[in-house]
Subunit: 141 residues, 2 copies
DNA sequence: GCAGAATATGTAGCATGCTACAATTATACA
DNA sequence: TGTATAATTGTAGCATGCTACATATTCTGC
């Protein structure tokens, strides 16, 4: 067993390296990668209200996981939540002013992160990589 | 932001899907994927003694992470550890009989897991995928 | 309308990852 | 030799993932 032979293990190494780098880069914003991804989602979906359920489904994680991340974001003042008046089971999640501002501060991070990861790859190679990963994902789902 | 556009996020989805499937499959053996990977390593390196440091470096994780996994494995009787007589700082890790037996029970898991993930991919595509992932890993390290 | 099912969120406890700090042992060099 | 440094392991506390169970609200079918 060595990293390049065991693709499952190699994917884990890559994923954790991405997380470590991103968490380091996001430290000045007092955010982790998982937390930043939630802010990105909220910013990109401001036209519609967002519930915990929406986030669970988009990020493919369990609801206790989302609750934990949202609680930390709300504690730091990046988001605000309130019970939906139409359906009291549902909690609607909003970006606060602070959350909106930090989003713009992180914009360069968001754009440069993927670019750095894909440097030295041609457009054709990137397309091929996405295509192969899609097949792998389909196989394991 | 959608999974196929953000390769970083997509890699996270794939990795967590692999872990969920593996942890489910390993439940009958009372093991998690991280724990099983340690047993695989110990089995493959029985000719040499293994320290915590060796495992940290191979799996590219911090030492408290390794300590936690080893403590759970030792608590369940799959491994045994003792202080090295030559260098009392070092703890040597060994597979127990129970650990050796469960390794053979899991052998089909180990072999079929990767195969399932890579079904519908030609040898050429698998080679290409490994090659692209190596470039990505090099970019982010 | 009411009982039971379904849905959304909350809580408890665990595994695996981390950093920061501590303790022990070995090494290096003045 | 003796002291400072390095190396290895240990501990505390946190973030993010999970399952299992609990609670509150809505929906369904009679």
């Amino acid at each position: 067993m060595c990293p390049s032979d065991d693709i499952g293990f190699f994917l884990k190494l890559i994923n954790e390296c991405i997380e470590k780098n991103a968490n380091q880069a996001l430290k000045p914003f007092d955010l982790t990668l998982s937390q930043a991804r939630i802010l990105f989602y909220l910013h990109d979906h401001q036209d519609a209200t967002t519930s915990q359920k929406d986030l669970e489904e988009f990020f493919e994680v369990s609801h206790p996981t989302i609750i934990g991340i949202l609680n930390r974001l709300e504690g730091k003042g990046f988001i605000h939540s309130e019970h939906c008046s139409k359906d009291k089971r549902v909690k609607s999640i909003f970006l606060t002013d602070k959350g909106g501002k930090v989003f713009y501060s992180m914009d360069h991070f968001r754009k440069n992160n993927e670019a750095n990861m894909l440097q030295d790859l041609t457009d054709k190679q990137i397309k091929e990589l996405k295509s192969l990963l899609k097949i792998v994902y389909k196989n394991i789902q």
